[in-house]
């Protein structure tokens, strides 16, 4: 038995000892916990941990295997995301007990706080007394047993699982209904109660999902894909796209859903130019003359990402994209010495194997999120929002929610998945600070923690990101794409990439932290020229999503949401996926990334530098009054002419891999 006294050592030190005990198969007893946070997080061994007193937030969180007993009360999120194992709390639990569990037993003998079992997928949460507001909120599976009364809005927006209530149901949530339970189920519940010595003689009411909100109403008819240039055309008000939108909305009575990003023209990186005449100084040997290496993520002492150039693959999910596409991205990222990102929906073994550097993304629904994959990631990312649809959660239409995909994510197959937009345990900056600390404790402070921010109120958000202790920020402007979204949101919600980076830099300057928080800028970065402009503006790195997909065979039909992608990229249908030539497309993506490298190096060189970090705002001018207004750069419309004459539309491709 290992004894840990929190009156004498810090929680971090205690967690190191608890982990070591786990590896040795020894049980642990914790003394003087005094409601401190993060006790025992990140444990992946089946040992017993006894906490003699009350624990704070996320006790036993991000674990797989251990059995915890807590004598007193627990704070928010006890057993957060626990896979196998158990937690028994003799006192009360605060908000979101058993949030996002995937198989554990979480037993609270006293009362439980609001939103118990939010986004849980499997396992059992049992409450010996009364539950508070919105128990079972957005649960996807598993069961909640409440021996006392339920609280208001029970089972709000649940999509799977069952809730058994022994006392009174105060009120039901949206999409929840009371049904009869059969004797097998009752036996199973009683068996559970016996196992945890919870005497209860009464009967139960059972609450399940009504099934009414699991699918969009009204099927959007398939239309002939419109070429992107026509789709995004501005030549007439009542153009083909506008008409098509109106016709389809008039038939379905709701917004359209589509893939890709904003098609509406707005000021972008293409409205900037370098003062230096890049084409005139093109040099075959430029790569050996310029340093592009970028190290990012060591702000708080973690092992950083070490990128061969300031470019990442942007977060895109297995789900929106096929397995083959994700693996191709991973292969290409390794060939080019940059990082790949899981996006929402879990980490694939093949992807992990193929990617030298992999960022693991944590979203509000915690779909596929787990401690074991955290521990094998090179960085973890908290997704707050994305540029294409800031403020909204992910969307995956039923055709893509296959049995396999649903199993990885822990959700019912075949639903129109609308992921939650808000993290269960991050309702403010204060909560976010505690969440980050949980991740750091669970990964022993070894890997960088980053945040994905869709551009909204960037000036405020960047300050919060700085204060709560992220290692870097991935800032995503509204030209970013997505696999499925309400089309009107894509077009009209968000802040353009150009304005986003300006707001971010100004926000940091306002709190005297300019240069102290690395920014990865994404959202419509189309090539190395755009990347160079982003870096010169003040970003530390960039990321490409759509461009990488196009390099890997996407034909930009914007029908990603449908799930029948003709080139096997945005699909989960094996027949369609077959069309995707994984190795060949990986090579294409790699070649595109190398063309970016060439462009970056050429621009750095043309500006008279030997390191990409030397690019700066003085190197840039704005070609339009709008871009000048947004960036504060000198307005130099005369360079527009030069861009046209000396940099023909296809000049960028002349730098392709030899």
């Amino acid at each position: 038995m290992v004894k840990v006294d929190l009156a004498k050592i810090s929680v971090t030190e205690a967690n190191d000892r608890i982990r070591a005990a786990g590896e040795n198969g020894e049980d642990v007893e914790v003394f003087n916990p005094d409601a401190r946070h993060h006790i025992g997080v990140g444990l992946i061994h089946p040992i017993n941990v006894r906490v003699n007193g009350s624990a704070g937030y996320f006790c036993a969180g991000l674990t797989d295997g251990p059995n915890f007993t807590i004598d007193g009360n627990v704070g928010w999120g006890v057993g957060d995301n626990m896979y196998q194992g158990s937690v028994v709390v003799n006192g009360n639990a605060s908000a979101i007990p058993a949030v996002a569990i995937r198989g554990a037993d979480v037993v609270i003998k006293g009362n439980i706080g609001s939103r118990a079992g939010q986004v849980m997928k499997a396992g059992t949460l049992c409450c010996g007394r009364n539950a508070n507001f919105m128990a079972g909120y957005m649960m996807y599976g598993g069961r909640i047993i409440i021996l006392g009364d339920s609280g208001e809005r029970l089972g709000e927006d649940m999509s799977g699982g069952s809730i058994y209530v022994g006392g009174e149901i105060q009120s039901l949530g949206t999409d929840a209904k009371v049904v009869d339970l059969d004797s097998d189920e009752l036996d199973s519940v009683r068996l559970f109660l016996d196992q945890y010595e919870l005497p209860f003689a009464g009967g139960f009411q059972k609450v399940v999902n009504t099934g009414e909100h699991l699918h969009y109403k009204g099927v959007e008819e398939r239309v002939r894909p419109m070429p992107f240039h026509a789709f995004s055309g501005t030549h007439a008000y009542w153009n083909a796209k506008t008409q098509e939108d109106i016709q389809i909305k008039s038939r379905t009575g709701r917004y359209r859903v589509r893939g890709y990003g904003a098609a509406r023209p707005m000021p972008h990186l293409s409205d900037l130019a370098f003062r230096a005449d890049v084409a005139a100084t093109a040099d075959d040997d430029v790569l050996s003359k310029v340093n592009l290496r970028t190290v990012i993520g060591d702000k708080h002492g973690a092992k950083p990402l070490d990128l061969s150039m300031p470019v990442m693959i942007a977060p895109m999910s297995f789900g929106a994209l096929s397995r083959s596409t994700k693996v191709a991205m991973a292969i290409a990222s390794s060939m080019s010495g940059i990082s790949e990102n899981t996006g929402e929906g879990g980490l694939l073994d093949a992807q992990r194997e193929a990617a030298d550097q992999l960022i693991f993304q944590c979203l509000a629904g915690r779909l596929g999120w787990n401690i074991r994959d955290m521990l094998r990631a090179d960085a973890v990312e908290i997704y707050i929002s994305q540029g294409a649809k800031p403020g909204f959660g992910g969307q995956l239409m039923a055709k893509k929610v296959t049995e396999e995909l649903a199993a990885i994510r822990g959700i019912p197959p075949g639903i129109d998945l609308r992921s939650p937009s808000r993290h269960p345990d991050v309702l403010g900056a204060d909560d976010l600070a505690i969440k980050i600390e949980e991740f750091r404790e669970a990964t022993a402070y070894k890997i960088p923690i980053t945040v994905k921010l869709g551009a909204g109120r960037v000036r405020d958000d960047i300050k919060i990101a700085m204060k709560v202790g992220f290692d870097f920020v991935e800032l995503d402007g509204s030209q970013g794409s997505t696999g499925a979204s309400c089309a009107d949101v894509l077009e009209y919600v968000g802040v353009p990439t150009l304005a986003a980076i300006e707001d971010a830099l100004n926000g940091l300057a306002e709190i005297d932290c300019r240069g102290q928080l690395p920014i990865v800028l994404m959202g419509g970065v189309m090539d190395g020229v755009d990347a160079a402009k982003a870096l010169a503006l003040g970003a530390d790195c960039t990321a490409v999503g759509t461009a990488a997909i196009i390099a890997g065979g996407c034909i930009a039909c914007m029908q990603c949401h449908v799930g029948s992608c003709v080139v096997g990229i945005a699909t989960q249908d094996p027949e369609h996926e077959k069309r995707y030539k994984l190795q060949q497309e990986a090579q294409h993506v790699y070649q595109f990334l190398e063309s970016m490298r060439w462009q970056l190096a050429s621009i750095v060189h043309a500006n008279g530098y030997d390191d990409v970090k030397q690019l700066n705002r003085n190197d840039l001018v704005a070609l339009t009054p709008e871009a000048a207004e947004i960036t504060g750069l000198e307005h130099a419309p005369e360079l527009r002419e030069r861009e046209r004459q000396r940099l023909p539309a296809n000049w960028k491709y002349e730098f392709a891999v030899r």
Partner: protein, 303 residues
């Protein structure tokens, strides 16, 4: 976005280490915000006397600010009984029995007024609980009750005056600390401004102070005002209020911001997190209670 704490000892015949208790509680939840820390403490009141505290800075302008305050005190015939310049503030005890609201609004022209009360004294500054304790000797304060706050600035500035607690300018002895975000801030602020209430910051929490004070000034009981606040305020909130004799809380219906309390025969303590309560009783397992969504309560000194 913040952490809050409040404590009230029920036995009014004695004095307790309220200052040290609040410093410990706030240190316990400092991870919720490190930008600034503040305390609302209550001194023993003397009839006819008011405690005033101003921000005067600690630079070249300090002497001038104190001079301006002096002139206004003279104008209103307020006689200085005691004064002290400490940290970035100047504290004055005066004899005064006129209209406090007019007095307060006038004094604002001299220097930034932090609080007025027959017993209230708000002390707040940038930095942690320990930083503020070191500069202002909070730990030595003896009393019966008080509230405190640690702040992580999200939308308004990191300045001492944007720190909590907030005093409802013009209304003696009322202070609030708030965790959350009031989303109908501008609507309510304009309504109150039309009734000649003045605001000193753009911090949404100041609105709660002004709203409560306005209601209390009409003679409505604190408990009733808290009940109304749950309907009238929109957004997320867990807030604490203190007067010269009471403390109370209100929590929004969505229960978005945390709050937990411990009550014994001796005291009531409320905080954002149990870790703060445990700071008062190290090594003990406390029988705590989480307030229900949309609930409120008050406790008064057992006079």
């Amino acid at each position: 976005m913040c952490g809050i704490a409040g404590i009230l000892y029920k036995d009014t015949d004695k004095c307790f280490n309220v200052g040290q208790s609040l410093v410990n509680m706030l240190d316990g939840c400092q991870h919720r915000g490190r930008d600034s820390t503040g305390f609302a403490l209550y001194h023993k009141s003397t009839p006819g006397q008011l405690h005033l505290r101003f921000f005067v800075g600690d630079d070249d302008g300090t002497a001038a600010a104190i001079g301006r305050v002096r002139n206004i005190l003279d104008e209103f015939g307020a006689v200085v009984v005691e004064d002290e310049t400490i940290g970035k503030t100047h504290r004055v005890v005066v004899k005064f029995d006129g209209d406090v609201q007019k007095f307060a609004y006038a004094l604002e022209h001299g220097a930034k007024l932090i609080s007025i009360g027959s017993s209230l004294d708000i002390i707040k500054d940038v930095g942690t609980a320990h930083d503020v304790d070191e500069s202002y000797h909070i730990g030595g304060h003896q009393g019966t009750h008080g509230i405190g706050h640690v702040r992580l600035a999200t939308e308004s500035d990191v300045k001492p005056e944007a720190a909590h607690p907030f005093w409802a300018t013009g209304f003696a002895d009322i202070a609030i600390v708030h965790n959350g975000q009031i989303t109908n801030y501008w609507k309510m602020r304009r309504r109150l401004e039309q009734r000649d209430f003045e605001f000193r910051t753009e911090n949404d929490s100041e609105l709660i102070a002004v709203f409560l004070a306005e209601q209390l000034s009409r003679g409505i009981a604190l408990e009733t005002v808290l009940e109304q606040s749950i309907d009238i305020l929109d957004g997320t909130f867990s807030f604490l209020v203190s007067t010269d004799t009471e403390i109370g809380y209100a929590k929004d219906r969505l229960a978005a911001k945390p709050m937990i309390m411990y009550e014994s025969d001796e005291l009531i303590a409320i905080a954002s997190e149990e870790v703060s309560l445990n700071r008062l009783f190290p090594g003990e397992t406390l029988d705590t209670r989480e307030p229900l969504p949309g609930s409120f309560a008050t406790w008064s000194k057992s006079t």
